[in-house]
């Protein structure tokens, strides 16, 4: 297994699966303005997926392209963290998940801009501006709803309690990460934890929310060992057209 291919699938599968999840809000958001903003975020993430999985396919050199990777792999070949495949829940939980992910995404892209692999540095440079905006928006929404009404505060606290056990997986380090860190291609994920904690602590304090004490972390997504049952359902919907009509274009 090529560590670079594995790493690129992790980046691209995170953006693909989260992009699909966020797109599920299209036409269902609480207000029109949020509907448009969420659709924009989903489109940004799927656009980023084309870059990451496109490079993954190039590195793999097996004749596949980004579309083939996205639409014809099964759940056990996906390398996204569990956090992004979880169902949306209510709008508050969706924005909490977005904020927890964006805070990490923004940090990792800042590091990847200095990657020794120019192609990775270029993707990180291009996507980091979109992600900076995603973070600004999700952070403000989490703060607004957390420090909002009794109802919105309770929902945001419930969302944080539910999602926080999925944060730890973002900072797991395995042989793939060690190889890439050694080559200066990507940062060791564990090294981002302090900066991440500082960010999240600040955001949650402003949002008047309490971060759970436990660092217990659900794992199994980024190495594909054990995804949640939700990923298969998501792929069934996302991949249906290419599965039923292989190679269909329009």
């Amino acid at each position: 297994m090529d560590p670079a291919f594995e790493f690129l699938c992790r980046m691209g599968d995170n953006t693909l699966v989260l992009g699909h999840r966020v797109s599920e809000w299209c036409g269902h958001s609480p207000v029109l303005e949020e509907d448009i903003a969420l659709a924009n975020t989903a489109l940004d993430l799927i656009g980023q997926t084309q870059l990451w999985l496109g490079l993954a396919a190039e590195v793999e050199g097996a004749g596949r392209d980004a579309d083939a990777l996205a639409m014809t792999r099964d759940a056990w070949d996906f390398r996204n963290v569990l956090l992004v495949e979880l169902p949306n829940g209510d709008f508050g939980r969706t924005m909490m998940r977005q904020c927890l992910f964006d805070a990490w995404h923004d940090l990792v892209l800042a590091e990847l801009r200095d990657s020794t692999d120019d192609r990775i540095a270029a993707i990180a440079d291009k996507t980091s501006r979109e992600v900076a905006y995603h973070l600004e928006r999700s952070r403000d929404t989490v703060i607004g709803l957390g420090d909002g009404t009794e109802e919105s505060h309770a929902r945001m606290q419930a969302a944080l309690d539910r999602l926080y056990p999925y944060v730890g997986e973002l900072f797991e380090t395995d042989a793939v990460d060690a190889a890439l860190a050694e080559a200066g291609i990507a940062p060791d994920p564990g090294n981002l934890r302090d900066a991440y904690d500082a960010r999240i602590t600040g955001i949650m304090a402003e949002a008047t929310l309490t971060i759970p004490d436990s660092r217990f972390a659900h794992k199994g997504g980024r190495d594909g060992v054990r995804h949640t049952e939700h990923l298969g359902h998501l792929l069934t919907e996302m991949q249906w057209l290419q599965r039923a009509y292989p190679g269909a274009t329009w």
Partner: protein
Amino acid sequence: MSNEWPLWEIFIRGQHGMAHRHVGSLHAPDADMAIKNARDVYTRRNEGVSIWVVEAARITASSPSDKGPMYDPARSKVYRHPTFFDIPDDVEPM
């Protein structure tokens, strides 16, 4: 208390525009979110370089029933329009 967020009027200055132009309106809980929503609703295709938001309730508008007294007297006074000057070719933005 109303559950609706207040209405904001959105003004955007385009890439080559000299002034902000009214582009539409949207709802948002506060001015900061109105700017963010405007970014998502109106500048997705690279339309703007600057956004102004104004709470719609803060705008004082002329009354439609005053239309006659307000505007009619200007109608027959063609000399108020600076149309009798030749504009040199090298003056671009007019």
